[in-house]
Symmetry: D2
Subunit: 341 residues, 4 copies
């Protein structure tokens, strides 16, 4: 951390500040510039609130030097992490997985859709039993009965299931039903009690970026989970909120290589939510794959116009099957061997 | 709701769509434009997912006509609401209140600060016992002991207390201690289980806008609380996230008159979080007052450089006292009688 | 266009409004909803300012139905456009081109870099002779001498050159030197006098999206050029401004399929500016290709640490050569035949 | 400027970098932290491109310490600037002015509106003769004839006129007609040829913030004008683009105290464009005044529903008159004497 002081700061005030910093167990390095004095703070700077430092009269600006995330940081864990999702499905460190299924678990059609996405090549099944909806008057999900349907599909198809948890009070039912991957949605990206609760388990967590979440905040949310002891975190880019209204969100695919650069955790992309329209899902799924994502999460429904939620962005099983074929071609194209030919 | 169809939509497809809409209990009005066909949907359009409609082949675009919020909507409740916060303090419908106190409850200094803000004219006391922090390594709040300190201050000073609830599992302790106003923070603006839980009580809720929350989403969050039976909702503008980095957030003061136009609920503004720097709190508190806010929430600390959180944006009691004097002058200046002179 | 009126609008006021609309030569369709009255406006709605309509007392909200762009609109020109850039290089309608070269024309190294990018497979040469810089104290470009160097490179290598025009007063020198493609930069995306000036020529224009430009505004800027008679417009997505600071811009790759859906014009993507860091250029160039871009614009410099501008995002010729190999593999992977196998 | 290097940077590479920096005439201060090495760069850092530094292998991150604007910087010019706009009207350094008039000059009604705004207390007259419009099919302004009408109104009313210049080729006509204040609109906030051109005159410039312009970019645009020799710059906050759609722009009133803190130049606010709706202009004009703006720019039209542009945000002369009375009360309320009572 670096504190930039005003040029005209009184020497005693500077000494006082240095004393204050050193009392917190940090070392200081002072250098005098033309228009300002710079203090470098060395040591465990998590003890210092940068905004607080900046509030002091003689301080003009404070800048972080090292990232506030540790366990999620590639610097301290250079090798890619691979997360074991069960049924032999690993994600990250070269292994690519496609999570597919309906937005909401709606009933008997789940198993039908599940069979179709598995046949098309999906390796994990998604479906929401608890649904965060902007309107209290919209469909809120089947709840535990939805989890049961997911578990039945898992038993038949032998593939891990991914489903959203919204409330820390539901953790017991998720553990009891041995949900393979718990999803934290964009609206809960900074729901810290919920992050801590899933952090106390060993269940893999698919952690979505918040609507206005920075890349650093996504990594800090992962840090919340990891700091409680659960290292099985999968990051997910699902679009951010900007001024553009032609799509549901703005798909920040830059985040894929940036997250790979900053962190060792696997990165999944969700072109369904990131675009909001079926017609854009295919090109953006291919783009995310080419950008180096470790996996994709895609909404599939066998009758989108009757889906209970998000039908507008669902692929039909046929469209999904075609997409899987194209994804495989992109995966080949970006394989290191392919390029080296 | 209006669905705009492609010009070349086959008549049978149009008829099929009209049938589908009418089966949901809605009426339709069709008009043929030069380049498109427009269907107006009349009735309870909450039954229709606009994104789903838009996913249909013949539909080009769907637009909402009526707001999705009902109980919070001024259209159905033209008079301003006034919320009773206890101890004779009402907010809204012409009554203006200032909520002040430290960011975090830290210990014995709370009562000292409380006395000072009360003397300066604050009518409600704030202080966080549960703190949402971006880093899991930052101070997380005193918890129940913090609530006890707030209650002690309330008993002495006879003023309502406002404090944040982050976890639906804490609702019992908040009710048991008879917290006067429960605050929902920006990060929980779409934490629907939490919104529903506070909605089941009768305790007033100070509901902050999310970092990337639209004005409509803030009203939908209010709707979540109100739809469970709790009409005591106070809206709070606390800054949104934009590209500007010179301030902690961008203070969207336009939201004050817009919320008054759309809703009957009282609107409070928080210049401390919206700016992030002590030096900007005073001008922006005055601006919020002039914009017509029904109240302000302001962070005050008697030793900001030793505050456990957000010291950078806290006023000292002296600064707060001076600000209260200026706020009173602005309140007079915007009074209807003043202008009519 | 649709005007939604208040439910309690007086019948005479509604009649008056209808008269006002019809006097402008438009037809109206009125339908009465439960909570509002809706007027559909049919005809040439470019004559009506939607904000003005919305300002009227009885009007609650106005919504556009048809897009305000005409010549750029795929609806009125269903087939993809192909733009002839000279030297047999066409872009769009299935033809993919890579524009490469240094950010700024700096001198003799231009021809060296040009030879290298051509050998690696680039089909067009870029280089800035006039540079828009945030600081007046930064390097502002070589001006006409830079154009001459570009022309020399063109003569030797027989490939079209692309270079930015910032000032309508420079149009004569651009025409005199027969610049093949004039680039309009992000900062001039709504510089209407400049757009009109290039619109009066027949020279192809590479039109970049503004930093906070919506997709619709990009198409309206194209419309400015086309309405003056120049249909040779190439659209370019180069990243937009958001709250994310880990990259120079947020690369809105969704814009690629959205622009293809809305318009017949070719769409190029610029991963250099959209990321700002050499290390992210390759994955994002591949992503843009997979998303269906008709071309890429990429900065290449043979000595990035000594480049006069934007060295941080330049590829070396070796990196570029490797990238071209990977791009070719992605192009194959997304070819319709490939997927159909 | 500060460069943070990787911890494992080879000593020779570090030495090489230090040599490279010092060859540019800068001094360096090196300090070794736990996880990184930090180099402080002292001297004229405008010679170094921070993005370029960051592109070097051993460099992890680069941070600016001092602001890139000099002439606009309060650090080097502590006293408030006052700009002389002619006819005895000064703005800044305690003097507050209201600029009012129609969006566009439309004809004979200009003089009528001008008389009304002057009578209500406006001290400067605005009106657009050249109009930047998103659509090429919208009204583009009267051009020189509009300037003549403004000049006639000036002669009668003896008040300075403010009008927008969009094209550097128009500078001669603006000078010839002795326009008192040239306005640079939001869309031209980074039109550098235009900024340089007005910088070569001595005419005061009302410089609007770009739609996605940061506060620093606004100050750099001022720097462009000032670096050419024209110090008469008035800054204008007119709303920025965000995700919020209930208003035309998001009024960033925080910018008022931030600009006062960073710069000595006067700051004007434009509540008409910042809100887009007549009904929000009054509260936001009062808010801007309370925030400490040195002036306001407000659109007034005597027949808004027939205005040729932006009628939706215009006040009638009566509404403006009422607003002026309220503004005066706010000005009194924030006067230092008032607060000290």
């Amino acid at each position: 951390m670096i504190a930039i002081l005003r040029k005209n700061a009184a020497p005693e005030a500077v000494d006082h500040l240095i004393g204050w910093i050193e009392k917190k167990g940090l070392q200081t390095h002072v250098s005098h510039g033309e228009n300002e004095i710079v203090i470098g703070l060395v040591g465990d700077t998590t003890k210092i609130d940068p905004f607080l430092l900046e509030s002091m009269d003689i301080v003009e600006r404070v800048q972080r030097v090292s990232e506030p995330f540790k366990k999620a940081n590639r610097k301290f864990h250079p090798a890619d992490s691979s997360i074991d999702c069960g049924f032999g499905v690993h994600i990250g460190a070269g292994e690519f997985q496609v999570i597919a299924g309906p937005c909401s678990v709606e009933g008997e059609n789940l198993i039908r859709i599940a069979r179709q996405v598995k046949e098309a090549g999906a390796t994990m099944l998604r479906g929401g039993a608890y649904k965060p909806r902007t309107s209290p008057y919209a469909y809120q999900g089947m709840g535990p009965a939805g989890l049961d349907l997911l578990c039945e599909a898992r038993e038949e198809l032998k593939m891990p299931i991914v489903t959203e948890i919204m409330d820390p009070r539901d953790i017991d039912v998720f553990l009891e039903k041995k949900i393979d991957v718990m999803q934290i949605g964009a609206r809960n990206a900074q729901n810290f009690p919920l992050l801590k609760e899933v952090g106390k388990t060993k269940t893999p967590v698919l952690l979505k970026r918040g609507m206005s979440g920075t890349i650093d905040e996504l990594l800090m949310a992962a840090e919340y989970i990891m700091s409680e002891g659960n290292d099985n975190v999968i990051l997910c880019e699902r679009g951010i909120r900007t001024f553009e209204t032609r799509t549901r969100n703005t798909f920040d695919l830059n985040a894929v290589p940036v997250l790979h650069y900053l962190s060792h955790l696997p990165v999944v992309a969700d072109p369904s939510h990131a675009t909001g329209y079926t017609r854009y899902v295919e090109p953006m799924a291919l783009a995310a794959t080419a950008a180096g994502a470790d996996g994709l999460e895609i909404e599939v429904h066998d009758d989108p116009t009757h889906a209970w939620s998000d039908g507008a962005q669902a692929l039909t099983p046929d469209q999904f099957c075609d997409l899987m074929r194209r994804i495989a071609l992109i995966r080949e194209a970006i394989a290191p061997e392919a390029a080296a030919e």
